[in-house]
């Protein structure tokens, strides 16, 4: 093999090389890709400020004046206010409970010494493979007998259960990664198992909690099917359901429907922008551990 080749390889790795044609092509490609992600969102934002007439006369111009009238109509007529509140209540309660219950089970699987740990893990992991569709009907009939249909609790229970596998999966990885000496040391100092869990292991796995928390929150916030099945009362609907009801192909109040879509998208976009790096890093950490 020639020296020049080695030299070139070395220089590839170490020195800053000039921006080559290939790099430029890659950037152009990436920018085009990103446009397909950003343009639809900007378009819906743009249209949401227009009047119905404007949408057809000047479809791609900027709106003549920025007014939030569409938003206020969508908010009241679409009953988006109450459904946003419902979504928040359901998601927060599920988030807290699933983090607590899930990490407790993960701790038992990762740290306690018992024979069934592996079996328990498999049991929870099969939950990831099971589509919720096939438990909808038994749950629905059971819940209507118990008076849980059309109540927020009736939605929290299945959401909570569906969030558990991924929480347990990721948290087990984090708990297994904690050094043994730490727990031994705490034990010598006279801490009992609950203190070890709440005061040592949980605080040290904050990253994992954060990631799983966000994943369950986002997943439940966006969930549509179960919410449609279990809730039929307008006052108990979650945001995706209210949105799907208000916005449809046969309605004609376009600008308000676009405003409703924006309202539904904004919270997650804000959360994502605030934490995007953390979400992305945490997700990869969780993925690699698995």
């Amino acid at each position: 093999m020639s020296y020049s080749k080695v030299y070139k390889a070395e220089s590839d790795l170490t020195s800053k090389k000039k921006i080559s044609g290939i790099q430029i092509a890659l950037y152009v490609f990436l920018i085009l890709i990103c446009l397909t992600y950003i343009l639809p969102l900007l378009w819906v934002l743009n249209v949401s400020f227009k009047t119905n007439k404007e949408i057809f006369t000047a479809p791609f111009a900027l709106p003549e004046k920025i007014s939030f009238e569409n938003y206020s109509i969508a908010w009241t007529a679409g009953k988006l206010g109450i459904s946003t509140l419902n979504s928040f209540i359901i998601c927060i309660v599920t988030l807290v409970l699933s983090s607590l219950i899930g990490s407790m089970a993960a701790f038992a699987i990762a740290r306690l010494r018992w024979k069934g740990a592996k079996l328990a893990m498999t049991y929870f992991l099969t939950g990831m493979m099971i589509p919720v569709h096939c438990v909808l009907i038994p749950l629905f009939t059971r819940f209507s007998k118990l008076g849980l249909s059309n109540s927020l609790l009736g939605l929290i229970l299945p959401y909570l259960t569906c969030s558990l596998p991924i929480t347990i999966f990721i948290m087990t990885g984090f708990f297994k990664g904690l050094p043994n000496e730490l727990i031994e040391c705490a034990c010598m100092e006279g801490a009992n198992i609950f203190q070890i869990f709440f005061k040592i292991c949980l605080p040290l796995s904050k990253t994992g909690l954060f990631v799983t928390g966000l994943m369950t929150f986002v997943g439940n916030w966006n969930e549509l099917l179960m919410a449609m099945v279990f809730i039929s009362d307008d006052a108990k609907k979650t945001l995706p359901v209210a949105l799907s009801k208000f916005v449809g192909p046969h309605a004609t109040n376009y600008s308000q429907m676009f405003a409703a879509i924006v309202i539904a998208l904004i919270p997650t976009i804000v959360v994502y922008c605030a934490f995007s790096n953390k979400i992305v890093d945490g997700l990869t950490a969780g993925a690699v551990k698995g």
């Binding site: 740290r111 099971i130 589509p131 096939c134 010598m188 099917l225 192909p249 995007s276």
Partner: protein, 294 residues
């Protein structure tokens, strides 16, 4: 310490809530669902055992045939396309110097957004009056295609549109998984391959690809299950229409549920469950190979 970690009472406290929830809300209903699928059960009346009649009816149900076909198409399409596009994005992003995080964050963004809202958004973009068609008419195209209304072909145009939108939405997930795995490959391996005279594409083919194979299995099973469960986007883009041409198993199940055909819908659910389990097993058998030390 040993004694403390073997404490059965603590074990019970830690495991019981999760175990109870899981069993009561997931596993017992599954068994019930299998039972309902063998019953004539129409909501108001009590379920009556009728054997495999629901499954026999499934075979004659034309809409179920379309739904199964569409689901299989969707499964294959999303597995293949997400693998290819996800890998290409990951390879490109690991090879650029600046702005990697920015591009990564933008491509991942739709994964956290609501499929329901995005479905409505694309419904309008491909709708007959707004969006793309406005643009096409402005550019002088006489009869722009009816993106979400056409019924021609074995896999009609709307189904392709849905498949592409879901690729658009979820490719970020596969990309992230592959990027995580690629960044875990040690630099010295790459260096060694360069010194041995490999070009960049060769390194990708002979070093990177074999090393990310375990992740391919994981990402693919996630995609496969996700695509079989897929509901929100289709429901909001076409509601299974036009004329049931874009029905998938999940939407068909929901439609039957709405007409109170509980037994029949349960049978569809069981088919879906079996498909999920089979596909996961299959992917893990075929794709998963030995793990390399990295």
């Amino acid at each position: 310490m040993e004694k403390m970690l073997r404490n059965k009472k603590a074990l019970l406290v830690f495991m019981l809530p999760a175990f109870l929830l899981f069993t009561l809300v997931l596993f017992i209903p599954i068994i019930q669902s299998v039972y309902y699928s063998l019953c004539d059960y129409k909501g108001m009346t009590k379920p009556v055992f009728i054997g495999f009649d629901n499954y026999k009816n499934l075979l004659h149900d034309k809409t179920f045939g379309i739904a199964l076909k569409n689901s299989m198409f969707f499964l294959v399409f999303s597995c293949v396309s997400q693998l290819l596009v996800g890998l290409i994005y990951a390879a490109i992003l690991t090879n650029i110097k600046k702005g990697r995080n920015l591009f990564k964050n933008i491509i991942y963004l739709p994964c956290v957004l609501s499929s329901a809202a995005l479905g409505l958004l694309w419904l309008f973009i491909f709708g007959p009056k707004l969006g793309i068609n406005q643009l096409l008419i402005k550019w002088g195209v006489e009869n722009p295609p009816l993106w979400l209304m056409s019924t021609k072909g074995t896999i009609p145009l709307p189904m392709w549109m849905i498949a592409f939108v879901s690729l658009w939405q979820f490719v970020g997930q596969s990309m992230m998984l592959y990027m995580a795995q690629i960044s875990g490959i040690s630099k010295s391996l790459m260096e060694a391959s360069y010194i041995d005279g490999c070009t960049k594409p060769m390194t990708f083919r002979y070093i990177t690809l074999p090393l990310i194979k375990p992740m391919v299995a994981t990402a693919m099973s996630l995609n496969a299950i996700g695509s079989l469960k897929f509901f929100d986007l289709i429901w909001n883009m076409t509601t299974g229409g036009p004329n049931h041409k874009t029905e998938v198993l999940a939407t068909h199940l929901y439609q039957q549920f709405k007409y109170f055909k509980y037994g029949y819908a349960s049978a569809i659910g069981v088919v879906l469950l079996i498909l999920c389990l089979l596909v996961t097993l299959f992917i893990n058998k075929v794709v998963k190979t030995e793990q390399y030390e990295m």
